[in-house]
């Protein structure tokens, strides 16, 4: 019976997380257009429903009924598979993110942990699945048989490999502090108020994480793979209809995961900023902090211009990578000296 209950619990959690993730993705596109609109002194979507709130659904219906084109020169199998790789890996990333502490179902002694999988290698899992997701973007551009697409995917491959290195090294400092790769351990180690959060102990790593994370999800200062003005949308140039929508959703889901990981690693996860505020459920705190990050990602898109490609590569290898190494060395040294 225990196995059956566990199975039911896992399935319920999967469904709930999936539904919430998809709903957040839909409304993140709305939020992005709205915030960018106000930054650029326009209104943003305001026709579908109050404040344009039904816009994501109308976009979804539009994408669903558009004609699905496959170019003649395309490598058909890979052309179809690559958006799937993108969206599956973006959703699978959320499997290890702890979005709340545990609670007991009233009337029973069944403890529900608010995370789908609490595995020992949680952080590595995220890196592994994220690196698989890059195949979607890289192959998508290559398989469409278009030179803009190919250029976009070459840029994507080079940029993601470069920034993944700095991203990985910047996080090692946090791992040293918490002595664990398990995400729930990392959160527990930051317990007891906002002054215990890792952001105060690892400020350089936090900044590096945000910059490299933006490069990993191809957001604006680093959106070389799909820079509209030179590559005419880059890797997804030949994609239409639902396949394009899948790439789009994958990008936003990946953005949410990047924010969730930042919350987990640096902002204390689901924990309240003050111990007195512990009565508010952890999920609320988690979603609130996540919203701050998502808003920041949108805000900086409206603020910064796109970098040049050679500047991005130079910045990644000559500034971020050494900084991450120095940060790692100093962290290790301090932890060693403090015993």
């Amino acid at each position: 019976m225990q196995v059956l209950y566990l199975l039911i619990e896992t399935v319920v959690k999967c469904v709930v997380v999936f539904a919430c993730l998809m709903l957040s993705v839909a409304y993140l596109t709305w939020l992005e257009r709205k915030v960018l609109g106000h930054i650029q002194i326009r209104f943003g979507p305001n026709r579908c429903g109050p404040f344009g709130l039904l816009q994501p659904f109308s976009d979804g219906i539009k994408a669903f009924f558009k004609e699905d084109l496959v170019p003649g020169r395309a490598d058909k199998a890979i052309f179809v598979i690559s958006p799937m790789i993108s969206i599956i890996s973006a959703i699978a990333l959320f499997a290890v993110i702890p979005f709340g502490n545990e609670f007991t179902i009233p009337g029973t002694n069944w403890v529900v942990k608010l995370r789908i999988a609490d595995i020992d290698i949680g952080l590595l899992y995220i890196f592994g699945i994220a690196s698989l997701g890059e195949f979607g973007i890289v192959l998508g551009g290559w398989s469409s048989g278009n030179k803009f697409g190919l250029t976009g995917s070459l840029r994507a491959a080079a940029q993601m490999i470069s920034y993944e290195v700095a991203l990985g090294i910047s996080i090692i400092g946090v791992i040293i502090l918490s002595q664990s790769l398990r995400l729930s351990d990392i959160i527990h180690q930051q317990a007891g108020g906002f002054w215990n959060w890792n952001i105060w102990y690892q400020p350089v790593a936090f900044v590096l994480y945000i910059i490299c994370g933006l490069a990993e999800i191809n957001r604006t200062p680093f959106d070389m793979p799909e820079s509209e003005s030179e590559l005419a949308c880059g890797f997804n140039i030949e994609y239409s209809s639902m396949k394009f929508a899948l790439f789009f959703m994958a990008e936003y889901a990946h953005m949410i995961t990047m924010g969730a990981l930042a919350v987990t690693l640096f902002w204390g996860g689901w924990q309240a900023p003050l111990p007195q505020l512990d009565f508010i459920p952890g999920v609320v705190w988690f979603c609130g902090k996540l919203f701050v990050f998502c808003f920041f990602f949108i805000w900086q898109r409206g603020t910064f211009p796109r970098l040049r490609y050679d500047q991005i590569m130079k910045f990644g290898w000559k500034i971020l990578f050494p900084l991450a190494l120095i940060n790692l060395l100093i962290t290790a040294l301090v932890v060693l000296l403090k015993g």
């Binding site: 019976m1 225990q2 196995v3 490598d75 890979i78 595995i119 020992d120 290698i121 590595l124 899992y125 890196f127 592994g128 699945i129 690196s131 698989l132 890059e134 195949f135 890289v138 192959l139 290559w142 190919l150 995917s153 070459l154 491959a157 080079a158 490999i161 002595q179 664990s180 790769l181």
Partner: protein, 175 residues
Amino acid sequence: MAENFGILFQWLIFMGMAFVSIIASLMVITRKNPIHSALFMVLTLLCVAVLYVLLHSPFIAIIQVIVYAGAIVMLIVFVIMLLDLEEELRSGLKIVSSKVIGGFLAVLFLLGIFYAAVAKSPAGQTGTYTTEKMATNVKDVSEVLFTKYLLPFEIISILLVAAIIGAVILSKKRT
């Protein structure tokens, strides 16, 4: 009842992954298009990673995914995309000597596998680090790596650094 269910489930996963990995590795060597080969290689590596998980070694599994499937095959794909594939496909790549050498090596490898399967393998040493302890904890793996196997670890690091410096020098030569 529950345990039987678990064993059956594991067996099903093992069978599925084993079949998929064998078929995918056959596809790696039979596909004409190198990108398709590289993708089937990713599939093979992923299946092997799942087999590692079944052996209670999630750390090795995820390192397999990050290093091989994520980084190395990504670099392979990156290089293949820079080449002109269609010219390669037209020329057809008919090198007899490579087939002879490759066939010889394949037979040798097959014999090696047969020998390993048939011959009596020495029993593993028993120590403080049991398989369960090693498998579930990254900390224990790294402890062994940085104490017992420190010298091989350092040698590999020096080799890798030498390789990186060599690559930098080779690519700088032309300017």
